[in-house]
C-alpha cells in the first residue's frame, strides 16, 4: 500500500504567469540600463570609399571653418579635383557640421584635411608667425597627402589595367557592411585568378582584416582538394589585400569566406 500525494495540474496558466514575469523583468532591466547608460555620442557614419570608381561630387568647403575664418583656407588640392566616389552623399550633405561635410565631399582620404581645417581655426585669432607656420604646415600636409593619393591611384589604375576589369563595384550607398565590402573586393580578385581542375572546387577560409585594412590572418577551414583552385584563391586574397581599405573605426574583423566558381556550389 503506498500513499499517493495528490497533484494539482496548474495547466498553462502558471507557465504563462512565469513567462510574463520574466519578460517584465527583462523589460525593466533594459529600461533601467537605458536610464543609467548615458546616451552615446553620435558615431560618424561609416563610408566606404572606392578609390577606383569615378566620379564624385565636387568637394564642398567646410561650412563651420568658413564662418570662423574670413580668409579661405589654403586648398589641399590636387586630391580635391580627383574624382572620388562617396557612397552616401545625401546623408552626408544634410549633416550640419563642417567635418562630415568635408568627409562627404572627399571621402576617407579627406579626413586629415578636415583636421587641418579645424586646426587652422585658431590661426585666424593668432596673427603673425604662428599663422604662417600653420598655413605652411597645412600646405605641406595637403601636398604630402595629395602625393600619396596620386601614387595610390596610379598603382590602382595600373592594377586595373592589368586585371582587365572595369569598375570595382562598391557596397551600396550607406550600407556600411564590411562583409559586403570584402566580398566585392574578393569577387573582383577571383575573376582575375580563377582556374580549377575539378568539377566542384571550393575553398572555405577565415580571414582577419586588421584595423588598418590589411589581411592579418588567413586560415583554410575546408577545401575540396583542388590545388589549382586553392592557389587561385590564395592569389585572389593576395590581390584583394592590396585594395582593402580600412573600415573606419574598425579594430579587426573576422570573416568566413567560401570561394567557388559561379554556378558551381559545394
Amino acid at each position: 500500500m503506498t500513499s499517493r500525494t495528490p497533484q494539482i495540474d496548474t495547466g498553462v496558466g502558471a507557465s504563462f504567469i512565469v513567462s510574463a514575469v520574466i519578460h517584465l523583468a527583462v523589460f525593466l532591466l533594459l529600461a533601467w540600463w537605458g536610464v543609467l547608460t548615458p546616451p552615446r555620442p553620435v558615431v560618424p557614419e561609416t563610408y566606404y570609399v572606392d578609390m577606383v570608381t569615378a566620379p564624385a561630387p565636387e568637394p564642398q568647403p567646410a561650412a563651420a571653418a568658413e564662418s570662423v575664418a574670413p580668409k579661405p583656407h589654403p586648398a589641399p588640392p590636387v586630391r580635391v579635383k580627383t574624382p572620388v566616389q562617396v557612397h552616401s552623399p545625401v546623408k552626408a550633405a544634410v549633416k550640419p557640421t563642417g567635418k562630415p561635410a568635408v568627409k562627404s565631399a572627399v571621402g576617407v582620404s579627406a579626413r586629415p584635411v578636415a583636421k587641418a581645417a579645424v586646426r587652422a581655426e585658431p590661426v585666424q585669432e593668432t596673427p603673425g608667425a604662428a599663422e604662417d607656420f600653420n598655413e605652411r604646415l597645412a600646405r605641406l600636409q595637403g601636398k604630402a597627402e595629395a602625393q600619396q593619393y596620386e601614387e595610390r591611384l596610379k598603382k590602382l589604375n595600373g592594377r586595373k589595367k592589368a586585371v582587365g576589369t572595369g569598375k570595382v563595384p562598391a557596397p551600396a550607398a550607406g550600407s556600411g557592411d564590411p562583409g559586403r565590402y570584402i566580398k566585392t573586393r574578393l569577387d573582383e580578385a577571383l575573376k582575375v585568378t580563377i582556374s580549377y581542375k575539378s568539377k566542384k572546387p571550393f575553398v572555405k577560409v577565415s580571414l582577419v582584416i586588421s584595423g588598418e585594412g590589411k589581411l592579418s590572418q588567413m586560415k583554410i577551414i575546408e577545401t575540396s582538394g583542388d590545388a589549382t583552385f586553392g592557389l587561385a584563391v590564395m592569389r585572389a586574397v593576395d590581390l584583394a589585400n592590396e585594395t582593402f581599405v580600412a573600415p573606419p573605426g574598425s579594430i579587426g574583423n573576422r570573416f568566413e569566406v567560401i570561394f567557388h566558381p559561379e554556378d558551381i556550389k559545394k
Binding site: 590545388a227 589549382t228 592569389r235 566558381p261
Partner: protein, 426 residues
C-alpha cells in the same frame, strides 16, 4: 524545472542566432587558362647560344600549353628591362601585357657544361613562386626545361607533371618494325632494337627502367626484356606459339601476357624473369591484351568468346570474369587509368577505330577521337594525357591528347609509320 529550461532558452537564443550568420560567398564566372610568358633565358657569360635559349623556351611553352592549365607563349624581355637582374626586374611591362605568370631564366656555358636556372613569378602578386637550378651538358637543355615544366605543374596543381617521361613505340621507317623510345613531345627518338625483324607490343616497367616487347627475331613471337640503362636484353618467354601483349603489374613483380602454348591464346601471368606461369583464362576463344588495374587486383582483357572482340574484367587470379563493353562490335586495346577510375580502349566503328573511355563499372562511355583511325591508347603516369597511334592525313603517327580528348597533337616528328605507343609511368 520549467522555469530553468525557459531561462536557459532565453539565454541561449541570442547566441544561437548570432552564430547562424553565414559565410561570405565569393564567386567568379568561368574557368580560364593562366597566361604564362616564358622569357628567353639570359646568358650570364660570353658564350651565349641563342639556339639553346630558343630551344629551352620552345620546350617549356609546348609543355605548358599541353598541360591544359596555361596559355603559354615565348616572349622576349621588353627592352626596357633587358639589363635588369633575374632577382630584381620590372614587373610592369608584364602586368600591362596581361600575363598571370612569368618564367625567367639564366644559363651559363662553361667548359662544355650547362647550368640553367629557371624562376617562376606570379605577375599579379609580384612575387617569385618557385626556382630551380640544373647542371649538365648542353644536350640536357630539353630535359631541364621538361623538369621545370614538371615543377610548375607541381606548384600549381600539387601534382608533379609527366613531361620528363618517355613514350616507347614501334616504327617501320627502316623497313622493319623496331622499338623506339622518345620524349613525350617527340624529342630525342632513340632505337631500342635494331634486329631487322618484327618487334611489337612494348611496355614499360613501373620504375621506367626496363621495356618488355615481343619479337620475331628468332622466328617465334617471343617476349624480351630490354634495359634502358645498359642496353642488355633478356629473353623472358619463348614458349611455343604466341608470347605477346605483355603488361607489367603495378608492383613490377609479374607480367600478364597472352600465351598460345595450349592451342588458343590465353591470359597468363609470369614473373619478371619469365618463370611461374599462371593461367588466368580458360575459354576456347582468343584472350589477349591484358591490362592491370592500378591496385593490381583486377585485369582487363580482350576476348572474342561471345563472337566479337569485347573487353572483359576479371580478378587478378582469373576469377569473377565480367563483360565490360556492351556497345560496338569490336573493342580492343584496353588500358586502365593510373587512378583506376577509367579504362581507355579503341573501338572499330563504321569510319575506323576511335579512342573511347569507360568507367570500370561499364558506365560513362565517352568517345575522345573522331578523325582518322586511332588505336593503341596508353595513359600518361598521372592520368592527365593519353597517347595513341593515328592514321590521319595519309600518315601514321603518334599523337598525344588530354584525358578529355582535347589538345590532340602529333608528336612523332619524322615520316614513316608509327604505332603501338606506350607511355612510361615515371
Amino acid at each position: 524545472m520549467k522555469l530553468l529550461c525557459l531561462l536557459f532558452f532565453l539565454l541561449i537564443l541570442p547566441v544561437t542566432l548570432s552564430a547562424q550568420s553565414g559565410a561570405i560567398e565569393v564567386t567568379a564566372p568561368g574557368n580560364r587558362f593562366l597566361k604564362l610568358a616564358v622569357d628567353a633565358p639570359r646568358c650570364t657569360d660570353a658564350l651565349a647560344n641563342p639556339a639553346t635559349a630558343k630551344l629551352a623556351v620552345d620546350v617549356l611553352v609546348n609543355d605548358m600549353n599541353m598541360s591544359g592549365l596555361f596559355s603559354a607563349e615565348g616572349r622576349a624581355t621588353p627592352a626596357a628591362s633587358r639589363e635588369q637582374l633575374l632577382a630584381d626586374f620590372n614587373y610592369t611591362p608584364w602586368v600591362t601585357a596581361g600575363f598571370d605568370m612569368l618564367v625567367k631564366g639564366e644559363y651559363s656555358l662553361k667548359s662544355g657544361g650547362l647550368t640553367v636556372e629557371y624562376r617562376l613569378y606570379d605577375i599579379i602578386n609580384r612575387k617569385m613562386v618557385t626556382a630551380q637550378r640544373y647542371h649538365g651538358s648542353t644536350k640536357d637543355i630539353r630535359r631541364f626545361s621538361h623538369q621545370f615544366a614538371d615543377e610548375i605543374l607541381r606548384v600549381i596543381t600539387g601534382e608533379k607533371g609527366i613531361f620528363t617521361t618517355k613514350i616507347a613505340y614501334v616504327a617501320s621507317h627502316t623497313g622493319n618494325k623496331e622499338i623506339y623510345v622518345m620524349d613525350w613531345d617527340g624529342g630525342n627518338p632513340l632505337p631500342l632494337t635494331k634486329n631487322g625483324s618484327i618487334n611489337m607490343n612494348p611496355d614499360f616497367s613501373p620504375d621506367g627502367r626496363d621495356v618488355i616487347f615481343s619479337s620475331y627475331k628468332r622466328g617465334n613471337p617471343d617476349m624480351y626484356r630490354r634495359s634502358l640503362s645498359n642496353s642488355s636484353e633478356t629473353l623472358i618467354s619463348n614458349r611455343k606459339g604466341l608470347n605477346i601483349t605483355g603488361n607489367w603489374s603495378p608492383d613490377g613483380g609479374s607480367i600478364a601476357l597472352a600465351l598460345s602454348k595450349d592451342g588458343d591464346a590465353e591470359i597468363y601471368t609470369i614473373d619478371r624473369e619469365g618463370g611461374h606461369p599462371v593461367r588466368l583464362t580458360k575459354s576456347p576463344a582468343l584472350d589477349l591484351y591484358p591490362a592491370w588495374s592500378p591496385d593490381g587486383k583486377r585485369i582487363a582483357f580482350v576476348s572474342d568468346r561471345l563472337g566479337k572482340p569485347q573487353i572483359f574484367i576479371m580478378n587478378s587470379d582469373g576469377s569473377g570474369v565480367k563483360r565490360l563493353t556492351t556497345s560496338g562490335n569490336y573493342n580492343v586495346n584496353p588500358r586502365w587509368s593510373p587512378k583506376g577510375d577509367k579504362i581507355v580502349f579503341s573501338r572499330l566503328s563504321g569510319s575506323g577505330f576511335n579512342i573511347i573511355t569507360i568507367s570500370p563499372d561499364g558506365s560513362g562511355e565517352s568517345q575522345l577521337t573522331a578523325d582518322g583511325n586511332n588505336e593503341n591508347p596508353s595513359w600518361s603516369g598521372d592520368g592527365r594525357f593519353i597517347c595513341f597511334s593515328s592514321k590521319r592525313g595519309g600518315g601514321d603517327g603518334i599523337y598525344v591528347m588530354r584525358a578529355d580528348g582535347s589538345g590532340q597533337m602529333k608528336v612523332s616528328q619524322s615520316k614513316g609509320k608509327y604505332f603501338q605507343p606506350v607511355w612510361s609511368r615515371r
